[in-house]
């Protein structure tokens, strides 16, 4: 056999290659197996999590998010580099395995890779390793020299992570170089010996090395060949065992993390998987208090975080200086897990997380807007963890004073303002409104049933400013001939934020009261103008009639011609639509409100740079209005500045809480007079062609006509 000696036949010092390259994998795989086993220990004692269902949906997710790297291009530069490295890893997996086995069995060829397929593969993998090497080089320059801000580690969160990143990039680069050198030295020797060498296609690393080595004496080539193999072997196994020690664990866990990721949106995990609401009284402790209270999937989340910083980069709480960084929610938990479940020695005792690695303010700072989860390329979950931590704090009585009053009022009066429940329908009694638009109260007074229930919720019922949104909504329903009514005093707060602030028991009481009242109303369809109520009714409640947001109803009616809209009169108005978190990200309603706006003749509309699924939370709703966060500025102020930058002077939103936050922010930002806010329902109410009021009979016959 001509060419260079193969590693398995060669001797490394006094050790035969075949022995050495049998021992290295055995020792490394043993160590790797041990590390993985230790990493699995906390998962075994974790809280349950039901993630074994819907296999086909999960496989689709894996194909899209993991194999397809779906979220990566959202950060075009870093994402692009990642796609190259990821794809390269997949291609080179075959090559790496072949190389390892070649150290044990001389001239090993992966089954199916002899012949044409093997030759094609060799060319593909040469380009793959070259591209990965270039990507790694660019990544290293980015991290080491340009240092993008989102990778910075604030002093309170510990030391900089650049060294680890560079070390791993170095390991990957070494793998690519040694693999190419191993191949190139062989090719160079074959050419020197006048053999027909395997073709090495141009502009690959192997091609560069081959050309560089073409006149190197054979004995030196042989040494290079064997050394390259040894370096590749050692680097490969060192990298493998290093993976589970830090953020590169995601190389292994990402597949599982994506497979087991949450499938639905807008929902919250139950207090404890497998325990029905009625049995919750038997659960002694609610929520997450120590690390072991997390579910096993949440622990896999911690293992899987790649430290890319995209969550925090999109976090509105972080942007305004609140003490919350989703990235470090995960990293601190991972560090805690690694410390308390060490590779060697006994596991530590479960110390409280709040006051330990997390502060109370950190956990209350989250508006559950979902921007972090939307961005995460690995589908790490945050909202469920934040809510579980809050459940733990509520259970311990550890609740800011600013939230205790509204919570108590919700308990005694069913709304956070402590207003009497019999005044819940007072918004319908405004003099000029009452004459033009009658609103039926459906529950408990024999007013008869209605087809549609308008679920108003607390802020629209009681807040002076927001009541106008309620009246606009009612007028739209009235003019389109909808047979609708409200629950009045029988309606309670939807409990959406009560639940997201961790007060599950109070939420269940509110929910049960509402479900009973809704069912008693006999309505077959629910409409709300409050995305938080929408989300609660759709995802937190069960067995209700279908629920729509008013923007969906309007969009349908505009399309069918039931609603006709007058042109905008002011030629200087430039509109922009602000996506409410619970309408957009959590319920995927992005187009309906925009379609409605675009249906208004003469309306000029611009998009903010952060729109649709990257919308920037206005500051949060429900109980968040009562919370007094530590922050440098308000989220709403940032948001109205974004609208100004986009060239808009009217912000249209579709959520009562957005209205409160944005109107306040316009004042705080000093944009009064130059910027206004209007709810989509208010705008439509204002622009609606008035002669259209149809009788219910007309509507019914129109419906029948549509059906037939």
């Amino acid at each position: 056999m001509l060419g260079l000696p193969s590693p398995s036949q060669a001797a490394y010092g006094i050790v035969p290659g075949r022995v050495l390259f049998l021992i290295i994998p055995i020792l490394s795989l043993t160590l790797f197996g041990y590390i993985i086993a230790r990493r699995l220990v906390p998962l075994l004692g974790a809280a349950p999590d039901f993630r074994l269902d819907h296999a086909s949906a999960r496989i689709k997710r894996v194909l899209k998010i993991w194999l397809g790297q779906w979220k990566q291009p959202r950060y075009f530069g870093a994402g692009g580099l990642h796609i190259v490295i990821f794809a390269g890893f997949l291609v080179l997996a075959v090559r790496s395995l072949s190389l390892i086995l070649l150290g044990i069995s001389d001239h090993f060829v992966m089954p199916g890779f002899s012949g044409a397929i093997g030759r094609l593969y060799n060319h593909v993998k040469d380009y793959a390793s070259t591209l990965v090497f270039i990507a790694v080089l660019i990544a290293a320059i980015r991290r080491g020299i340009f240092k993008p801000a989102r990778y910075a580690v604030p002093a309170k969160y510990g030391k900089d992570h650049t060294a680890e990143a560079l070390l791993v990039l170095g390991l990957i680069g070494t793998l690519m170089l040694s693999e190419s050198l191993f191949e190139a030295s062989q090719a160079a020797s074959q050419i020197q010996q006048g053999q027909t060498a395997e073709a090495v296609l141009p502009l690959t690393l192997a091609w560069l090395f081959k050309n560089a080595l073409i006149s190197v004496p054979l004995p030196l080539l042989a040494s290079l060949h064997l050394a390259a193999y040894l370096v590749h072997e050692l680097t490969f196994f060192a990298f493998l065992c290093f993976l589970p020690l830090g953020k590169h664990f995601h190389v292994i866990t990402s597949l599982f993390n994506v497979y087991f990721a949450k499938l639905d949106r807008g929902t919250l995990k139950p207090v404890r998987w497998g325990v029905a609401d009625e049995q919750l009284d038997q659960v002694k402790s609610f929520g997450v208090k120590t690390f072991q209270d997390f579910t096993w999937k949440h622990m896999v989340d911690f293992y899987s975080c790649a430290d890319c910083g995209r969550c925090t980069d999109n976090c509105p709480a972080n942007a305004v200086g609140r003490p919350l960084s989703p990235r470090f929610i995960t990293i601190k938990a991972r560090n805690y897990s690694f410390e308390h479940h060490p590779l060697f020695g006994k596991a530590g005792n479960g110390t409280p997380l709040i006051g330990g690695i997390y502060s109370e303010d950190e956990i209350w700072s989250c508006t559950t807007c979902g921007a972090c989860e939307e961005e995460c390329p690995l589908l790490v979950e945050y909202i469920d963890k934040i809510v579980d931590l809050r459940r733990g704090m509520i259970d311990d009585g550890n609740v800011p004073q600013s939230l205790q009053k509204p919570l108590k009022a919700l308990e005694s009066r069913g709304n956070p303002y402590g207003k009497p429940d019999k005044k819940r329908a007072d918004w319908t009694k405004a003099v000029d409104f009452q004459q033009s638009c009658k609103v039926k109260v459906l529950a408990g007074n024999g007013n008869g049933a209605a087809e549609t229930l308008y679920f108003v919720d607390s802020i629209t019922s009681y807040d002076d400013r927001i009541q106008a949104i309620g009246r606009a909504t009612a007028r739209i329903l009235n003019r389109t001939g909808e047979n609708f009514g409200i629950l009045g005093a029988a309606e309670k707060d939807s409990g959406h934020e009560v639940r997201r602030f961790g007060e599950e028991t109070l939420f269940m009481a509110l929910r049960d009261a509402n479900v009973e009242a809704i069912k008693a109303s006999g309505a077959r369809h629910i409409v709300t103008a409050d995305p938080h109520a929408l989300n609660a009714l759709k995802h937190d409640y069960k067995d209700l009639p279908p629920v729509d947001h008013i923007s969906q109803v309007i969009a349908r009616d505009v399309k069918s011609g039931r609603i006709k809209l007058n042109p905008i009169e002011n030629p200087d108005s430039v509109y922009t639509y602000h996506d409410p978190c619970y309408l957009g990200r959590h319920n995927q309603v992005y187009d309906d409100p925009r379609d409605v706006l675009d249906a208004i003749p003469g309306l000029k509309r611009v998009e903010m740079s952060r729109c649709r699924d990257r919308s920037f939370c206005c500051g949060g709703g429900g109980l968040m209005l009562f919370y007094e966060p530590k922050e440098d500025e308000r989220m709403g102020v940032k948001r109205v500045q974004m609208a100004a930058e986009a060239g808009a002077n009217v912000i249209v939103t579709a959520c009562p809480f957005c209205m409160v936050n944005i109107e306040d922010a316009i004042k705080v930002a000093g944009l009064e007079g130059r910027m206004t806010a209007i709810d989509l329902a208010e705008l439509v109410d204002q622009q609606m062609v008035r002669e259209q009021t149809r009788t219910q009979t007309e509507v019914a016959s129109a419906r029948l006509a549509q059906v037939s």
């Binding site: 919750l280 009284d281 609610f286 509520i394 259970d395 311990d396 009585g397 550890n398 609740v399 004073q401 939230l403 205790q404 009053k405 919570l407 108590k408 009022a409 308990e411 005694s412 009066r413 402590g418 207003k419 009497p420 019999k422 002076d464 400013r465 007060e503 599950e504 028991t505 109070l506 009481a509």
Partner: protein
């Protein structure tokens, strides 16, 4: 340390629109809750016990309806709730309530008795009278509290002008606790449900050996004769516009009168 906290259930003034009815408020349709300063007193007692050991008992003089506030405080961590209830107690004045509490205290042993600084609908008188009847020292308006060696407490109160006065007081004693001394823990519905089944003992006049003249309407030396909302005086102006208009008007008025430059 064994601590008794005397608590009262009051109409929640922050949540109610109070209507008058004769010489009392209309109590239909009201929402009741624990008197706020009493809640701070219970929290303070729980914090003392967490450090120094012992247990906290909460007691109220009232009827069955008042059990709910005892349960709320038990959900906070009070070990026992005691309802002191008897038809004969109806119409008691402050001294009457103090007499009833004194009789209960004398049947038990407490190192420290706390009350809220005053009830929303009260006159801040029971704590002082209870101390006098028991012949133990009393300090009011307590804003901080520390347990010292040798059966003493270090307490402080705020004095007019922003000053602070620190005192030492011998145990046993009665203290009235000011709001803001601590941050009371939250009591959720789950906590209240968990103590729902615990029996709350009830003591009547005969259990405590209180005779008819000691408490109740018969023993009352102070009786309420009228209750009303004062009529608007001159100089008071109620703004009746929208919120925005009112804010503008207030700013204008304050500027006009030199309160705002």
């Amino acid at each position: 340390m064994e601590i008794l906290v005397c608590v009262k259930r009051v109409p929640d003034t922050s949540e109610n629109e109070i209507q008058l009815d004769g010489n009392d408020i209309d109590r239909d349709d009201l929402v009741y809750s624990i008197n706020e300063p009493d809640n701070y007193a219970v929290e303070e007692a729980l914090q003392i016990v967490a450090k120094a050991g012992g247990s906290v008992t909460v007691a109220t003089v009232g009827g069955e309806d008042d059990e709910e506030v005892l349960r709320r405080e038990m959900a906070m961590g009070a070990k026992q709730g005691v309802l002191i209830s008897d038809g004969a107690f109806n119409g008691s004045d402050g001294r009457g309530i103090a007499t009833i509490l004194k009789a209960y205290v004398q049947k038990n042993h407490y190192d420290l008795i706390l009350t809220g600084v005053q009830a929303d609908d009260g006159a801040a008188q029971v704590g002082g009278m209870l101390a006098a009847l028991l012949d133990v020292p009393f300090a009011s308006l307590v804003t901080s509290l520390e347990v010292l060696e040798g059966n003493k407490l270090k307490i402080s109160r705020e004095v007019e002008g922003g000053n602070k006065e620190v005192s030492e007081i011998d145990l046993p004693c009665v203290l009235s606790i000011q709001t803001g001394i601590n941050e009371p823990r939250y009591v959720g519905m789950k906590g209240i449900r968990q103590v729902a089944a615990i029996e709350i003992p009830s003591f009547g006049a005969s259990d405590l050996g209180i005779d008819a003249g000691g408490a109740g309407a018969a023993g009352a030396k102070v009786t309420r004769t009228d209750y009303f909302v004062p009529t608007l005086g001159k100089g008071a102006e109620i703004l009746q516009g929208s919120r925005e208009e009112n804010i503008d008007k207030v700013v204008e008025l304050m500027k006009a009168r030199g309160g705002l430059n």
